[in-house]
Symmetry: C2
Subunit: 403 residues, 2 copies
């Protein structure tokens, strides 16, 4: 008799994004004439850059030509892309340490697999739900507690009080999920915070999985990569993305850095984490679509780099408008400087979902309920700057009416 | 201290394909003037069909245009593709039961995850290595035995004696991996065989994961889908692919059918396997690249369907030439009628790897060692018909010299 992975049943409710979709759909049914503004999205509004589109269509044509057609590519990604990434952004690494994947989301979900189920997991809180959920699904947690948190998982709170810079765990942990800039708070981890965590990991032989999907949005002097911190390559894996910097969310391409330096002592011997991840990638995946990798490699040209900078400027401007606009109405807001997200406190005694629903129903603005990103997000909603200027202006107008 | 998933260390040697690559590279170094013929590949030689390339480039252009740009798509795939698949090939299912993924390989690797680690796994042998390897990595096996098989896994032998039609397990099993047409034997499972397995699964509340990646190559009256068998939707998941039928290996797109009918009784309640897989897909993936899904949907047109039939004819012709050619030289060969693979017995007392190396060194033909697909493949090598006619002719000439 087939038995199920009952760890899945520990998961609370449905995943966040489908739940949002459901509520928005219901409200649209209820108020068919309302004009909804979507300030909840994680998709850029800018299309692919012209030279990226050109590379994508050219590679697509190659696939239709007998002489230039390509079948299976290397599981870890084409050398042309891995080399370009190293040459532009990671000169201290070898192309061999770069793994191309079809999205940082998938890598963030799958990296836990190469580690034992016995490891104790710590996560930044609030955070992108996938860190916790995939560890729950694998069986590294106890059931959901009444607090809304999972037993056995260590939560590293990012609060107003600590400036959204998490404290070190005060219990033993083995695997830490950090994210800078953090989604949803929109705040980057400072050099001091990252240094403390790297030192902690080094001292405790722990490993950090660092989600840097939003690094290109940083405008402050916060580190853009955990590898700017001394010794980080001994303890950290970093996941990067083209989804936000270059509008690749619908194309699917990203990369993960697994340093050769990263070693684990287990079962009486020293092991390479790189070798383990390579084995997983070689066994379970067949590489990323060739035209998509060609599109990504077009980002590593003068034109591509300039286009990224231009796009970042556009979003930074919008985030600033939203941040200062909400502030001037009287909201307590954070983030927006190093990320396209604004983290906004709900009115006193109003919960995240309650405020989300209220805003949706009354002024038809779609946001994200902070608690969807963990209990640490309760009492907040998240705004996204991935919206057109007129939508942002209109959002601010509507919130003014609400105040 | 981080602990590793030591199940990975149970895996024998390196994955098959990188091992082949390594040996071929070494031989090319050793014999730099030799002309190598690759009869080992799993890649089609035909480029993308013209209407597929057109759809791919058109959708690529859409991504570069602000009005038609798309970000994240639905995790389970776009409705336009799911609907087309159902309308053309699976009229008894709803689009909701079709999950688009970035390759059958990934789904075949990941499906095990929704089932308990306690399940006993049975696999067709020889078979595509991923069925066994991903279950070993997850922890559903004991260590590798001296026989070259993993303890705790039940192997369903496909032999010359049983016409490559596996017998039912004679012990208790929960999860069965079948594949028809089977890679590497090149033989499709008969209606009788599949019926026996469906009945077995139904009686024992077991689940079948059926790999039908090569169904479009079937020319005999063998079933093209396990769902041709009565009650199969109560017990089976089927994984399909565009990689072989339409040259999508380098594009990455496939689909998996998880019927709503498929229910599991566990922990005192009846559960939907569809709900569990949907949860995994929604949590861990972000859907397949939009231009790639548009390319796939172009297969479901009159032109696309005709192109598949034409491609299948080309490969069937080549497989036949290879099959009868090798036979006429004196080799004992199977397969080739329902699949692009020829399963060829090695000379008496010569092992798979030994014959692979011998052929590589002496006549510079790259094949696949049967034992790479499991102990059931020992004593065979596999030829692929994914080669040009002149390469197939030249291969036969060289084997004649060897005889």
């Amino acid at each position: 008799m087939t038995k199920l992975n009952l760890n899945y049943h520990k998961l609370s409710g449905r995943p966040l994004f489908p739940e949002i979709e459901k509520r928005v759909e219901a409200m649209k049914q209820k108020q068919p004439h309302a004009v909804f503004l979507n300030l909840g999205v994680e998709n850029g509004t800018q299309p692919l850059f012209p030279n990226v589109t050109a590379a994508l269509t050219a590679a697509s044509s190659e696939m239709g030509n007998k002489e230039t057609f390509r079948g299976y590519g290397p599981c870890e990604g084409y050398q042309f892309l891995r080399k370009a990434i190293v040459a532009h952004d990671h000169k201290d690494f070898s192309p061999d340490e770069i793994f191309i994947s079809d999205g940082s989301h998938a890598d963030l979900a799958d990296l836990q697999e190469i580690f034992s189920l016995e490891n104790r997991v710590a996560v930044i809180d609030p955070a992108y739900p996938i860190y916790v959920e995939t560890n729950v699904m694998a069986g590294r947690s106890r059931p959901l507690l009444k607090t809304g948190r999972y037993g056995g998982i260590v939560y590293l709170s990012c609060t107003e009080e600590n400036g959204f810079q998490p404290e070190l765990p005060n219990v033993h942990v083995d695997l830490l999920y950090l994210s800078s800039p953090n989604n949803p708070t929109g705040v980057a981890l400072s050099r001091e915070t990252l240094t403390r965590f790297v030192q902690f990991a080094k001292k405790n032989n722990a490993i950090i999985i660092h989600d840097a999907a939003y690094e290109s949005f940083i405008t402050s002097d916060a580190p853009r990569s955990i590898y700017e911190i001394e010794n980080a390559r001994d303890v950290a894996i970093e996941v990067r993305s083209f989804s936000k910097s270059a509008g690749f969310a619908g194309l699917r391409c990203s990369y993960t850095i697994v340093p050769h330096h990263l070693k684990v002592y287990d079962a009486g011997a020293l092991h390479s984490v790189h070798a383990l991840w390579k084995r997983r990638v070689e066994t379970k995946t067949c590489g990323v679509s060739y035209p998509i990798q060609k599109a990504a490699s077009a980002l590593y040209t003068r034109e591509g780099q300039q286009a990224i900078r231009d796009a970042m400027k556009i979003y930074a401007e919008r985030a600033k408008t939203l941040l200062y606009g909400l502030k001037s109405i009287g909201y307590t807001v954070y983030g927006g400087i190093d990320a396209p997200y604004i983290w906004c406190k709900t009115p006193p005694k109003v919960g995240s979902w309650e405020f989300f629903d209220f805003v949706l129903e009354n002024i038809h603005v779609i946001t994200m309920p902070g608690v969807g990103f963990g209990q640490g997000g309760e009492g907040y909603i998240r705004f996204s700057a991935f919206a057109e200027p007129h939508e942002i202006q209109e959002t601010l107008e509507r919130f003014k009416r609400l105040a």
